[in-house]
Symmetry: C2
Subunit: 273 residues, 2 copies
């Protein structure tokens, strides 16, 4: 079992990942794909005259402030554009993909944080009406049903709150929780960077191996989105996943090369790729 | 088994249908819901500076010209906004809904008509690069799997072409094909009109009963979208559906009241409601 998360930032192509996964599925391996669509969401929000607002929580994590209107834009970009583009790309290659959000079958379930405390201009501020949350539970029923019947699940946020509302959640964390629930052997986080970099300006400065227990020591190296990815890696490994690999989606056979050890490999026993 | 199609034209509310179906599901009846989102698609297209273009085929049917950009807008409105709003509304009422397009699991399959011949200003014109098509096959595998495991399938266009591409198809026809494939007892087409009207300006002029074999005689009464609905009714009845009912979604308990015979009831043996 492999769980692959492909980022949705601008500049991340899907074609190479889709082609590679098609071949891998042909060998009989089970795969679940999770994707983002943050770049598309920003673009759509701008075009609709509702530019994204990113806020920083008191714990220092950045998130998209998601009022009801933003939630609809988010769903259009994630479930409409991003998800269906992936499902179509697989169907064109003969893979019977099924695209779902965390709302569907309550796959990703968690708590809505209606009120968030943010830091803006050095001051604390309370924001209300937010539809963001955190995945606390993965309900595997529907995913397992699809896998058992030969479908490829293609999943994305939003998640569902305990009250049934759609909530914007971090895709890397959701994918990590899923990988843990499925006890995946490998959990790949593909994006537009080749892995964790010692020097952001130098793509050759990839940290090749991180022992699971040393993740925290590497957090200071991680900028922006990479911080979330390292935290997601920790969640997956604590949940029983064998190996987490951070790698680029923008290369030939991105999944195969990551499985061969390219990128940043994080594993309990420092297993080489 | 009931198949309900709820239109997506502007002015059609979903709340009453969702509440009513929640009660009906509670009685143990099996339901599949199909929905449109044409109003939302038009709105989004306008807001994105890509206004909809409706064309009339040589056979007199109106359709949305769907180039690649329009297809993405269509998917955002249907699979993103419309579908997830319904799934969320059901989840908030405790119904475990699963939202899917015809691409997912190849539920609605058909032929892409890349080239269409239209009539514009009295002249014939050939348009290329169109992503519209016609549902020719319903693959029940995924729908049956969901029903057997207690999920409520919430379906919408696009369909999938034989080559795997997303194609814009008429939702009423897709729902009719599905109702026929499922041998549904009842197939309801809910919209913002109370049924087939003898006089469009008079909502009390609903044609109450139509014998299946007489549908063609009523086609001249049908304007615009209603023509497609009558044709969809014919497809469903020919496919073995017991009863087709055209009724309004904008009333208290729209499904229950339609099942009790409100609206236009079309049936083989002129069964009363």
């Amino acid at each position: 079992m492999i769980v692959v998360k492909i980022g949705g930032g601008s500049g991340i192509g899907i074609d190479q990942t889709v082609a590679d996964l098609t071949d891998i599925l042909g060998t009989g391996r089970k795969v679940v794909l999770v994707h983002g669509a943050s770049g598309e969401t920003n673009l759509l929000a701008e075009r609709l005259g509702k530019p994204p607002r990113f806020v920083t929580s008191v714990s220092g994590l950045e998130s998209r402030y998601t009022d009801r209107e933003t939630l609809a834009i988010f769903e259009m970009a994630y479930c409409g554009k991003g998800n269906k583009a992936l499902v179509e790309a697989f169907q064109m290659r003969g893979v019977n993909a099924v695209g779902l959000s965390g709302l569907d079958g309550r796959i990703f379930e968690g708590k809505r944080k209606e009120t968030i405390t943010i830091v803006e201009g050095g001051k604390r501020k309370v924001l209300r009406g937010d539809y963001t949350g955190k995945v606390e539970r993965v309900n595997l029923g529907l995913v397992t049903l699809l896998l058992d019947h030969g479908y490829l699940p293609v999943l994305c946020p939003p998640a569902v709150s305990y009250e049934g509302e759609a909530v914007n959640v971090d895709g890397d964390t959701a994918a990590a929780m899923l990988a843990a629930a499925l006890k995946a052997v490998d959990f790949l986080i593909l994006s537009n960077v080749p892995g964790l970099l010692r020097d952001l300006r130098d793509p050759d400065s990839v940290v090749a191996r991180i022992p699971a227990k040393a993740i925290n020591e590497f957090l200071p190296l991680a900028q922006g989105r990479m911080k979330r990815k390292l935290m997601a890696a920790a969640i997956a490994l604590e949940g029983g996943v064998g190996r987490v690999i951070l790698a680029t989606a923008n290369t030939d056979r991105p999944v195969t090369s990551a499985l061969q050890g390219r990128g940043t490999v994080i594993a309990k026993n420092e297993i080489a790729g």
